[in-house]
């Protein structure tokens, strides 16, 4: 059974169904979307259960699982060689957890969009297209296919933010689109360069196959990204330029400071479900891209420039946290906390140690559903009174005790309290970056120290928010009418929140559920890169 293809293209079928059904059945759209996403989640679960954790993956196609390879475009184009594009998908320990996470977060997002009133047909159709693109990104092993999904992802998001968003939605939507596109058009140039540099050893044709791009032996001697020949563009090593351009294309998605400014805007203007997808899945595409593409195709440059990557990570951690401290809008605060938490991912990746990279992967998973939960929690209040200003609320604990309980758990889980998943992720990143100095990967110890200051700051802004909004006397900006509208969480909301927070606890206690699956791939990746130090 082509399980990955099913996983990718099921949502497309859902889109077709939704578009074909006349508008008078509009209440059924969400059930269609939910049913298809649930099937997807089950399929992803099957992938998880059947996954063979001993397989390595990364630069070795034999180590990938559920691989499907179909020749897609084969053309003889004369001087630019034979075009060879495959429909090549497969997963290893790095993509499998993210695939499962995406299916889970998608399910949350459908749950969060239960009360969408404005043209549900278009909304759910676009959501399903987005779902397809996201799954495709995590499975694609052909660069052309990857790029296709990567760009297709932007279009539904633009409309989802732009049509169903808040007051400044036009600005936020186009800003998000432009930032990502700016990174990706230059990525396209690098893809073309790689295409001309790499030869499929079997057929002798140029190829877009990412796995072949990871093997130095497949590079032509005099090509632009050749390993042995030292090619330069304007006096700078061509391979370094390739690495940096690809890195920035993905770093915009992560996002790193100073390229993060699209994120708060997009989050604030996006409707709750889209915020959930943005924080839960899309930011992970950035981290995934850096590992899968930048690091695996340019391991030599990764080893060369990891100090700078670590520095960018540290800056993002501290700057994001400091910004989160000063925010008055609850959603904006969580957006900045995302910048800070994703900084850990970058720091962990930059450490080039097994602990650090595993920690980064774990942090991505943990941040994926925790930030989704946080945005969902903001959505709960916003749905009721259409206000998100922290200072508009006080003493919510007395009005909404259950809600306060969920918020408290989510906040404690995000700030890295031991026993929750974020702790594992952040601790491993810090251990990894601390050990980097002794392994000799070139990351100084003060970066690990700066990372721990980031954890301290995140405790400060989250706890302070908890205190400002939930404790003390009841004082609401909207007075009595708000007090009536602020009902406690209902069963649908609990149905979404409870499993998410339970998962945070479960992974905090049993991190091996994730670690055991990604360990082989991460060790392979680290040893693959460390040979270039």
């Amino acid at each position: 059974m082509p399980i990955l293809s099913l996983l990718i293209f099921l949502p497309l079928l859902a889109t077709a169904f939704i578009l074909a059904l006349p508008t008078r059945y509009k209440s059924s759209y969400k059930y269609i979307a939910l049913a298809f996403t649930a099937v997807q989640f089950v399929l992803a679960g099957i992938c998880y259960v059947k996954f063979d954790a001993s397989q390595t993956g990364v630069q070795d196609l034999a180590g990938y699982q559920f691989v499907e390879q179909i020749p897609w475009i084969r053309l003889d184009l004369g001087s630019i060689g034979k075009l060879e594009i495959d429909y090549l998908i497969g997963i290893d320990g790095i993509s499998m957890p993210l695939l499962l996470l995406s299916a889970f977060v998608m399910l949350m997002a459908i749950g969060a969009s239960w009360n969408i009133q404005k043209s549900p047909k278009g909304y759910f159709a676009l959501l399903m297209v987005l779902n397809m693109a996201v799954m495709g990104i995590f499975c694609a092993l052909d660069f052309f296919l990857f790029y296709l999904f990567y760009e297709v992802m932007l279009l539904p998001l633009y409309f989802l933010i732009g049509i169903w968003g808040g007051a400044r939605r036009e600005y936020a939507a186009i800003k998000f689109f432009l930032y990502t596109l700016f990174g990706s058009v230059f990525m396209l140039l690098i893809i073309v360069g790689l295409y001309f540099s790499v030869i499929n050893p079997v057929t002798g044709a140029h190829t877009f196959n990412m796995i072949y791009m990871m093997n130095p032996q497949n590079y032509l001697g005099d090509s632009i990204f050749a390993w042995d020949g030292y090619q330069e563009i304007l006096g700078i090593s061509a391979r370094l330029i390739g690495f940096v351009v690809l890195f920035f294309a993905f770093a915009i998605k992560v996002p790193i400071v100073p390229l993060h400014t699209w994120l708060p805007d997009a989050h604030v203007e996006a409707p709750t479900p889209v915020s959930i997808i943005l924080a839960g899945i899309l930011l992970k595409i950035g981290g995934y891209g850096i590992i899968r593409i930048c690091y695996s195709i340019f391991p030599d440059m990764a080893a060369l420039s990891n100090w700078w990557l670590g520095l960018i990570g540290v800056i993002s951690i501290i700057y994001g946290a400091l910004n989160a401290l000063t925010q008055k809008d609850l959603k904006r605060m969580i957006a900045y906390s995302s910048v800070s938490h994703m900084g850990f991912v970058l720091l962990g990746i930059a450490s080039l140690t097994a602990e650090g990279v595993s920690g980064a992967m774990f942090q991505m998973i943990s941040h994926g559903f925790l930030s989704a939960a946080l945005f969902f929690l903001v959505g709960v209040v916003y749905d009721r009174v259409h206000d998100r200003n922290i200072y508009s609320f006080r003493g919510l604990a007395q009005l909404m005790p259950k809600y306060t309980g969920y918020v408290a758990v989510a906040f404690f889980a995000s700030l890295g309290l031991p026993g929750f998943s974020a702790f594992i992720g952040e601790a491993f990143v810090i251990i990894g970056s601390f050990n980097a100095a002794s392994v000799g990967t070139g990351l100084p110890r003060w970066m690990a120290l700066a990372g721990s200051i980031g954890i301290l700051l995140s405790a400060a802004y989250l706890l302070w928010t908890l205190q400002r909004m939930f404790f003390g006397e009841i004082r609401l900006k909207g007075g009595e009418s708000w007090a009536n509208e602020l009902t406690d969480v209902n069963s649908r909301e609990q149905l979404i929140l409870f499993p998410t927070l339970a998962l945070a606890l479960l992974l905090g206690i049993m991190p091996s559920l994730v670690f055991s699956n990604l360990n082989a791939s991460v060790l392979n990746l680290v040893s693959f890169i460390q040979q270039f130090i």
């Binding site: 939507a173 596109l181 396209l188």
Partner: protein
């Protein structure tokens, strides 16, 4: 006269031998005459006579073209005046199919306006000129072809003119066009002076160019580019196109923005392939000028489009921007490797025809081409605006559309040349090409932005012509399908 008499029989032999090669064009000429006769005498009784005759003529010409295309033989006829290769044949098929769609477009849109027979006839002559342009390498022939196209275009632009803006557009076009043609002719006479030969791909012509004085050859080449630049509307000869595109009826704008470019691009790529094969002052000079022009054209077209409020005017600047991309492809064209160029040209034709059909559809319903008037219409006519958005996405060059594949192939070609020659100019072309596609997102997306993201204040109802909308949808589906499976089309060339 007497001196020629011994040769007359061989001349006639040559002409008789050449005539079969010229069948597609002869068909066009006969259709031209037939259409005029039909519009004079038959249209009174059956108002679709001239239209039917035109369509039939185009189809017949297409059949002959297919015959030429399938035979895969290079044909030289009329004393080297025409030179038919597969590149020319494929380009003519694209020209013919685009013309066919546009003739249907004209008929559907203007059937109740003034008699259309003459317009069909003029479209046919323009097409004839374009056909000649693709298969000639003789300057005299080229000049005649350019003038045939120009004069036909002048008439087309002014054909329906009833308002001041439309007359202004036509007048501007004529004045600008004649001056450019005159300058080009002067450049051609200089070239003839240097070489004593009018066929640009012959060794003696190229040898003459090598020996020509640097200053004079530079001036001659620049003059030559003036004429070509006018037809392609590249910088700095693009200034006419926004006014003309906006002022001309939309059906004519569609023709002008799409079809002539195909032919001129073919001509220019043949010219550059012949001349840039050698490395002398004149060819280096020409290459640098083209690189500079391409960069400037991309930048100016896309930056100016940012400020436009009118869909047709925006499309004019967008087509200037696409000319820049085409120039990139032309620069790296090598003989017998025309598939990338032809792919982009056919996609470009598809996208342009679809966009203008949509614009026109809205123009008829709303009475306006301003982008602001599309506010909130996405909800009322979802099919129209979804297809419109998809075509615009293709124009930006985003996957999964054919526009992306086209751009990717052109970038690949340029990159391959860059890898061979390490020329900074080619790298700059690539970077500017990538950058301008980001810029273009901004203005193309104004249309979906208004249609979907904003709310409607006035309630217009959009009435669609089913046949035209069908053509538009067909183009849209083709754009997506060719984006996912480009080999369907690429393997044909």
């Amino acid at each position: 006269m007497l001196a020629f008499s011994p040769y007359i029989s061989s001349f006639i032999d040559q002409i008789i031998v050449s005539i079969p090669y010229f069948k597609p064009e002869l068909t066009l000429i006969i259709t031209f005459i037939g259409t005029i006769i039909a519009s004079l005498f038959v249209d009174k009784y059956w108002d679709k006579a001239s239209f039917t005759f035109t369509i039939a003529g185009l189809l017949l010409s297409g059949c002959y073209l297919l015959g030429q295309g399938l035979s895969h033989v290079e044909m030289v006829g009329f004393f080297d005046m025409i030179h038919i290769d597969t590149f020319a044949t494929s380009a003519r098929v694209i020209i013919l199919l685009s013309t066919l769609l546009i003739v249907i477009f004209i008929q559907q849109r203007h059937q109740h306006d003034r008699p259309l027979g003459d317009l069909y006839a003029v479209v046919l002559t323009a097409t004839l000129g374009l056909n000649l342009l693709t298969m000639s390498s003789n300057w005299l022939m080229i000049f005649i072809a350019v003038e045939t196209v120009s004069i036909s275009s002048y008439i087309m632009v002014g054909y329906f003119s009833s308002t001041k803006v439309q007359s202004e557009a036509a007048m501007k076009y004529v004045l600008f066009g004649s001056i450019c043609a005159a300058v080009m002719l002067y450049g051609l006479s200089l070239l003839y002076g240097f070489t004593g030969n009018l066929n640009f791909d012959t060794p003696s012509h190229i040898a003459g160019l090598m020996e020509a004085p640097k200053l004079m050859i530079s001036i001659a080449l620049l003059f030559l580019l003036t004429g070509i630049g006018f037809k392609l509307s590249f910088f700095p000869f693009h200034v006419w196109s926004p006014d003309v595109y906006q002022g001309a009826p939309t059906v004519i704008t569609t023709y002008l923005a799409t079809v002539p470019k195909i032919a001129v691009v073919v001509l220019l790529s043949k010219l550059l392939a012949a001349w840039l094969a050698v490395s002398f002052y004149f060819s280096d000079f020409l290459a640098y000028v083209i690189i500079i022009i391409a960069i400037a054209t991309m930048l100016i077209g896309n930056l100016a489009a940012l400020r436009q409020q009118d869909a047709k005017r925006m499309m004019a600047y967008s087509s200037i921007g696409h000319t820049g991309i085409l120039l990139m492809a032309v620069l790296v064209y090598q003989n017998n490797e025309s598939n990338v160029l032809l792919f982009y040209l056919s996609i470009y034709a598809l996208m342009n025809i679809a966009v203008f059909i949509f614009i026109n559809n809205l123009e008829v319903s709303l009475g306006s081409t301003s982008i602001d008037s599309y506010k909130g219409l996405g909800k009322q006519s979802p099919i129209l605006f979804t297809s419109f958005s998809i075509v615009l996405i293709a124009l930006i060059g985003l996957p999964p559309t054919a526009g992306f594949v086209g751009k990717l192939l052109i970038f690949s070609k340029v990159f391959e040349q860059y890898q061979n020659f390490q020329s900074f100019g080619l790298l700059a072309l690539l970077i500017v090409g990538a950058l301008t596609s980001v810029i273009s997102l901004f203005y193309y997306f104004k249309i979906p932005l208004n249609a979907f993201l904003r709310d409607n204040v006035d309630h217009y109802s959009v009435k669609s012509n089913p046949l035209l909308l069908g053509i538009g949808l067909f183009c849209t589906i083709a754009v997506i399908l060719l984006g996912l499976f480009p080999d369907i089309l690429l393997s044909l060339f």
